[in-house]
């Protein structure tokens, strides 16, 4: 992907980022990034003293990432299904905060379920019975007071949005 290709892309679609929809370009991007350990920019502290990572540490991190990814995705879907409009973002943010608190203090039974869920995810079987249960597990992980706080966060965001609308329509 060079500047000439980017110019052509811009002429064709008006958006440079569309070039990543080209499978050949995307392959090249992956190949190029694979040559380098880091891509960071900004503050030197980012990589002044990087420490080696053991395979066990890397494996443990990936399990955490998959768990959070599955749980937070299902939580977002659950909240989005209510169609809270301008309150959706705030509700999801509050829900994520609370679910993370619960994930840090799981009962043995809950921990066993989540361990098995990650194992199932990594094995990629044709049927995923544990994954199918996740939305209801997420629902039950949050207490009535959590759900109430999530609803209040959405209500407050809608109120703020409404107040901004009233204020801006007054000056329009």
């Amino acid at each position: 992907m060079n500047d000439e290709m980017l110019r052509k892309q811009y002429e064709q679609t008006g958006d440079l980022l569309d070039i990543l929809d080209n499978p050949t370009v995307l392959e090249e991007v992956v190949r190029l990034e694979s040559e380098f350990d880091e891509i960071g920019a900004g503050f030197p502290a980012y990589s002044r003293n990087p420490k080696p990572v053991t395979p066990a540490q890397a494996k443990a991190v990936m399990r955490k990432v998959r768990l959070q990814s599955m749980v937070l995705s299902d939580l977002a879907k659950l909240i989005q299904s209510v169609n809270l409009g301008a309150g959706t973002e705030a509700a999801i943010a509050e829900g994520r905060r609370r679910i993370r608190q619960h994930l840090a203090h799981l009962t043995d039974e809950q921990q066993a379920y989540f361990d098995a869920l990650i194992d199932e995810d990594q094995l990629q079987p044709p049927d995923k019975p544990l994954r199918a249960q996740l939305k209801s597990v997420v629902h039950s992980l949050l207490s009535p007071s959590d759900w109430n706080a999530i609803g209040q966060a959405a209500t407050q965001a809608i109120q703020n949005y409404w107040d901004e609308f009233i204020q801006s329509s007054k000056t329009a």
Partner: protein, 181 residues
């Protein structure tokens, strides 16, 4: 959401990540999830404050903050300045300056190989160039690369203008003009 961006998972599957103006949940992902992992793995950028960057962005028009999200998690963060920085080649020209760019720990090949998601750095860099075009800066973008990332920016065809004593001797890289405004 600003738009979808095609990227690849470490397993080679093409997926659509979502690019957002940075939201509170992205800061909380850094504070509540990235930071813990970075600490466990002994990485230094656990000390960066993306919350401060988001606050500055909200209070000052010249700053913009973006996040790349996939499967419910923040995969990369970028903070840019759009009005004060000038090209090192010709100071008559404004540039988009990348104040900070970071990929999630699980997308760094040194920590995870293959990474969870490939192409995060390139996508954010390309978006900075897109902002430069939109602002009338003709695609000019500058940044100071971290020592372990210099090769990446060279291979992305940015010109290396050498070490900058004003920026703790980090090397300065710049993209020149891509398009007419």
């Amino acid at each position: 959401m600003l738009r979808l961006i095609s990227l690849k998972t470490g397993l080679g599957q093409t997926v659509q990540a979502q690019l957002y103006s940075m939201q509170q949940r992205h800061v909380e992902d850094f504070e509540g999830f990235w930071r813990g992992i970075l600490h466990e793995l002994g990485q230094d950028d656990e000390f960066w404050s993306w919350a401060m960057k988001k606050r500055l962005t909200a209070s000052d028009d010249r700053f913009e903050a973006y996040a790349l999200e996939f499967e419910g998690l923040t995969q990369g963060l970028m903070w840019i300045e759009t009005q004060w920085h000038r090209s090192w080649v010709n100071s008559a020209y404004r540039i988009v300056y990348i104040e900070a760019l970071a990929s999630a720990p699980w997308n760094r090949r040194r920590l995870e190989d293959p990474p969870y998601l490939d192409g995060v750095g390139t996508a954010l860099l390309l978006f900075a160039r897109r902002r430069s075009v939109a602002l009338g800066y003709e695609g000019r973008v500058g940044l100071h690369a971290l020592p372990t990332s210099e090769g990446f920016y060279e291979r992305r065809n940015m010109t290396d203008y050498g070490q900058d004593p004003d920026k703790e001797d980090l090397r300065y890289f710049e993209y020149g003009r891509l398009l007419q405004p």
